[in-house]
Amino acid sequence: MGILTLEKKALFSFLFLSGLALLAILFPIISSSDPNYFDPNLIGEPKSPSFAHLFGTDDLGRDILIRCIYGSRISLMVGFISVGISITIGTLVGVVSGYAGGVADEIIMRIVDMFMAIPTLFLILTIQVMMEPSITNVMVVIGLTSWMGVSRLVRAEVLSVKNRLFITAAKARGISLGPLLFKHILPHCLNPVIVAAMLGMGSAILVESVLSFLGLGVQPPHASWGNMLENSLSFLRQAPWMALIPGVLITLTVLALNFLGDGIRTYFDPRSKTSARH
């Protein structure tokens, strides 16, 4: 690597993400600005960025900076919770499938194949239309449709761990199945899961933005980066900053998550230094 080493990229990403998370958590506590407050003088036409409104205002005279900060709460929350759901399901399925082996493993893996052959985004869109669009639904649906990769990773790790000596020793001591799986096997399988969590958060944030952009995710007046983009469509020529700012924020956040995931992977497995693959 040249000027920007992998470590530096991961460090910058970590700083950026923690800054964003702090702002998202603390801003509503320390500031009384309301994301839906509108300046009656500015209503009707979006105003370009100025000192009073650093990111400009939208068509309803609302401050875009404040809405972006509130939008970051949504994006980060969607990332955390949907990845939490997918990691939980994926880990359970992977551990069971890998440890059980035989017919059970075969059946479970075919089901995983089945889920993987469905165009996920399309399925999510379909489900979202059927249900009342809400933040909770978005998180649950993304979580329920993105666990397959994790289950494959965990299964592969379990397969490589389950015949090692310390597991045989634990079994010889008469340990019961639960502690064996979750205290002895699982901890050895978590490294790829942490990396997958980082990358998964990135893609969950992307999916949320698509859903909200299509009006199927977070509903106005709540601010999310995706529905700010939807709103910007009507003013694309007149107020390009309304479309550019939330998009840049999404890109930066996902980029930071990808860099961080890559950095963590290299830390766990220095041989992959040249790789940058998932």
Binding site: M1, A117, P119, D262
Partner: protein, 318 residues
């Protein structure tokens, strides 16, 4: 050939499972499709009649069995909204989607191979750094937003390309080359949007496999025997390095297809994606089922082709 037969046979239960799963998800979800396109003033009795006509009053498993029976007769039902046969509605959109995805696939490969090759060969150079950063950024940009930015910049600001559509009205009966250039202008931006994501994803893998292969002993031996670097790269590394790309293309097909649906929607490209997103909004079950089935067949076929290509590139794979 027995291999191909076995694989084809294996994909039948896979397809059945996919059908069952998507059918269940869509029918168990709350929301009545008849309410979407019926006049609110219609009486409850008429509504019940409509539901009966559409078969929506039967138990869900019976509905699925009926749907399957019709499927085997080559009948996927009729669109709730337009009344067209589902197969016809999808097939008439298919060429535009195929055109867009095949041309983007070819361009993606044409760009990825040289980019990954140079970047892997000159590992750690300025060029390599730029490629790596570009591919990370390309993976992180929301594609639909990139499409919007392209529209904003190339269409609205510079006025170089049309914002949407396939062919301007009035060009229907023009000379073929006029028509072709008009289609070319329309396809340019959607193509560019899809290519950025695809190249970003594949280049990282290709670079990595080039690096791995160049470290292998047979390359060192070749170098020691005095083979030229070009020969080493193109004759001895290229084919081996293409293998992971084939696997990944097969694996990432679902997201490629899903992503291009949104792009089609943004640019009003008259393909399956636009139809799909429109049917999502009008809760057109038969069309959605047909779309999911059709896309899944495409994905499974893609995976199969990837496996076959893999065997062809590397005869050791059994």
């Amino acid at each position: 050939m027995p291999y191909l037969f076995k694989r084809l046979l294996g994909s039948v239960p896979l397809l059945l499972g996919i059908c069952f799963l998507s059918f269940m998800i869509m029918h168990l979800a709350p929301g009545d499709p008849t309410l979407m396109f019926m006049d609110p003033s219609v009486s409850l009795q008429d509504l019940a009649q409509v539901r009966e006509n559409l078969g929506l009053d039967k138990p869900i498993l019976v509905q699925f069995a009926l749907w399957l029976k019709h499927l085997f007769q080559g009948d996927l039902g009729y669109s709730f909204v337009s009344g067209k046969p589902v197969i016809e509605a999808i097939l008439e959109r298919f060429p535009a989607t195929l055109f867009l995805s095949i041309s983007s696939l070819i361009l993606i490969l044409c760009i990825t191979f040289p980019l990954g090759l140079i970047s892997g060969y000159k590992k750690g150079s300025m060029f390599d750094d730029c490629v790596t950063v570009f591919s990370f950024i390309g993976l992180s940009i929301p594609t639909f937003w990139l499409g919007l930015v392209f529209i904003l910049f190339f269409s609205l600001e510079l006025n170089w390309f049309p914002t949407s559509g396939y062919l301007d009205p009035g060009y229907q009966y023009s000379q073929w080359y006029v028509k072709l250039s008009n289609i070319g202008a329309h396809i340019f931006l959607p193509l560019l949007t899809i290519i950025v994501g695809g190249v970003a994803c594949l280049t990282r893998y290709h670079r990595f496999s080039i690096i791995q292969i160049l470290n292998q002993d047979y390359i060192k031996a070749g170098r020691a025997r005095g083979l030229s670097e070009t020969r080493l790269l193109f004759k001895h590394s290229f084919k081996n390095a293409a293998m992971p790309i084939i696997t990944i293309l097969g694996m990432d097909l679902p997201s490629l297809i899903g992503g291009s649906y949104i792009i089609e929607f943004i640019f009003s490209w008259p393909g399956m994606g636009q139809l799909g997103v429109a049917s999502v909004f009008s809760r057109d079950y038969p069309i959605l089922m047909g779309m999911i089935l059709f896309s899944s067949i495409l994905i499974i076929t893609g995976n199969l082709l990837a496996d076959l290509a893999y065997k062809w590139v590397d005869p050791r794979v059994s």
